[in-house]
Point group: C2
Chain length 369, copies 2
């Protein structure tokens, strides 16, 4: 079956950049945090090649912010995550798993520390605001929590730095990876971070105010003409090659961070106060029994992966594939799957049950990019 | 612009009935609780006429359940809602607004009381599980909370009772409105409630177990052939005519239940323990300053309403329209909007700013169905 139609409604929120996205000829969307997220402009493969060669502007307004501010903001942040936040400074971004009391992942956002008592959590696809609010209410913390009018716009690709310097000045060049600085555009300051959901380099601009959206979109498009700038979006092929996980696809609240290969973002011993700490102490000590792996699936291009594909070995289920797509650059089907420890070593051969039939697949030592 | 394409992925979960939905020729979807919800089969208008004349089977698996069980389940339920639950008996369904500590609506589910210490909350489009879990964690309540493998299948339309009796036996006829009974199909019991998201009468079957989905779907289709049964879905025209609100479209967490015209489901004085009670006591006493209204928009058929349309009177903003569509039966554009008290009386004339231009609209005394 080809892609079905999406029925528009107010509930699937438009973004400050939707007008630009439509003018650029968006072909398809997904829905993310109750908001439209473009998925294809020219074609997934054309967008992919272009992302690796030039520069793209992405409407990722759907990365909504949960803002925490007030005396208990720092305490609440540490309650949310097993990552030790004591060393986090204003101006830093931290990728941080958020877990519930069982250690199950509720989101895998990037947190932005604006001040000692003020944070943004730039969320993946789940209503994290509800969890944060519920915890704050139950613990009667002194903190204000809301979703501000902040809409991320990503600039990604090898020419991103050049384009950003043209629009925001050379200060954009000085921003280090996972750091941010407030930069000015048309008289308003926006948080600009060196980050993004690709491995091609780039920035995320936390655009402050819906009205600032289209002027900035247009300025980037105008300034980047000779750089071959184009509207783009998170690219399925590039993200699987790069091992960028997608919450809801590759992991759910059933999974611990350790299963997702995010153990390096957990400091379970020292993250005192984290709600899921007790549950994760044992996992951290013994290790998970299944974990995310890169898989190369043999044969011609796989169909669209819109459900878990079982992974077996000698007739026994040993995992599942959650994302898979043909990679032109690596000339194989690249995939992300959860695999049991009996079969997760590099070179292990398993069977992936695609809708087109069973295919051999090889566990990789690392992702491709 | 016509409807764009939707890119499938695992994150937009398929349902136990997806196979049947596809075989029935689904034309478009929306995304609801991270799950596919069909929106069109033949056309919105054909589906609408058929719903009012025959019987339809709807895949509403996206109405996910939040299950609460344990000694504190009842206490936690009352914390969630300003509706007084003391009179709720096992076997009853309650429509209940869920509010945060500011009285803002987080969801407007139907709660199902399975036993004194066990409930399902059949949710609208927000991750209510996160709020319920956060509150339970913060208050250290003795309650288990999860999303069980329960997928509602609705049977709606004037011939629904006849079809249900053929598949579940005459016991289905005895179920009163907003009551439920456990009924058997192929050796398994399913909760069957007289309820549903239309005003045409019908049932919701809380299908227990993914594997039970397609056998039941097929049995309903087979048994209803001479009743002209067809796959259907919540219908935009019918729901607006009927004044069935949609969370995320017609109301958000900015709105109190009273603004949404749901004051009759609030017993703010007696709902002791409700988290939002303090905030709502004043609203309940003084009344809201804006409220949901039915609006008839003049002129030819309005375009797709995918964002708030401002409502003005003499140049001043007095509200917004959130859902609007042409009604063949009532020969007008029917709409749902939030209107300030200065202009909310029946017969008041306001101006609606549609993308096609400004149109006069008349505030109605009631919805159409």
């Amino acid at each position: 079956m080809g892609a079905p139609l999406l029925s528009p409604s107010r509930r699937l929120r438009r973004t400050p950049f939707s007008e630009g996205v439509e003018a650029a000829g968006v072909k398809a969307y997904t829905v993310y945090n109750h908001m439209l997220l473009p998925t294809v402009f020219r074609s997934v493969e054309e967008d992919y090649h272009h992302l690796k060669e030039a520069v793209q502007v992405w409407d990722v307004a759907c990365e909504r912010q949960v803002e925490l501010r007030g005396p208990d903001a720092g305490r609440l942040m540490q309650m949310l995550t097993p990552r030790d936040l004591r060393g986090m400074l204003p101006g830093q971004c931290y990728y941080m798993p958020i877990v519930d009391e069982t250690g199950g992942m509720l989101n895998d956002p990037v947190a932005v520390k604006l001040a000692e008592d003020r944070f943004w959590i730039s969320i993946a696809d789940s209503d994290l605001l509800f969890w944060v609010n519920g915890v704050a209410q139950g613990w009667r913390l002194d903190v204000l929590i809301d979703e501000p009018d902040i809409s991320p716009l990503a600039v990604q690709g090898p020419k991103a730095e050049e384009l950003m310097a043209r629009v925001f000045g050379d200060a954009a060049r000085d921003i280090r990876f996972f750091r941010f600085a407030p930069l000015e555009f048309q008289g308003r300051m926006h948080v600009v971070a060196r980050s993004g959901y690709s491995k091609q380099g780039g920035y995320e601009i936390y655009v402050d105010g819906t009205d600032a959206g289209m002027p900035l979109w247009n300025a980037l498009m105008e300034a980047g003409k000779d750089l071959d700038v184009h509207a783009g979006c998170p690219n399925l092929i590039e993200r699987v090659e790069s091992g960028l996980l997608s919450y809801g696809n590759d992991m759910t609240d059933d999974n611990t961070p350790h299963e997702c290969g995010l153990g390096r973002f957990c400091n379970t011993q020292s993250a005192v106060g984290c709600i899921g700490r007790d549950a994760l102490l044992r996992v951290a000590k013994e290790g998970p029994v299944q974990q995310i792996r890169a898989l190369a699936i043999e044969g011609p291009r796989v169909p669209v992966c819109d459900k878990w594909w079982p992974v077996t070995a000698r007739g026994k289920t040993v995992g599942r594939v959650s994302s898979a797509v043909w990679s032109p650059d690596f000339d194989t089907n690249v995939a992300i799957g959860m695999v049991r420890l009996t079969h997760w070593d590099p070179g292990d051969i398993v069977e992936v049950h695609t809708p087109d039939g069973v295919r051999p697949a090889e566990v990789q030592a690392a992702f491709w990019n």
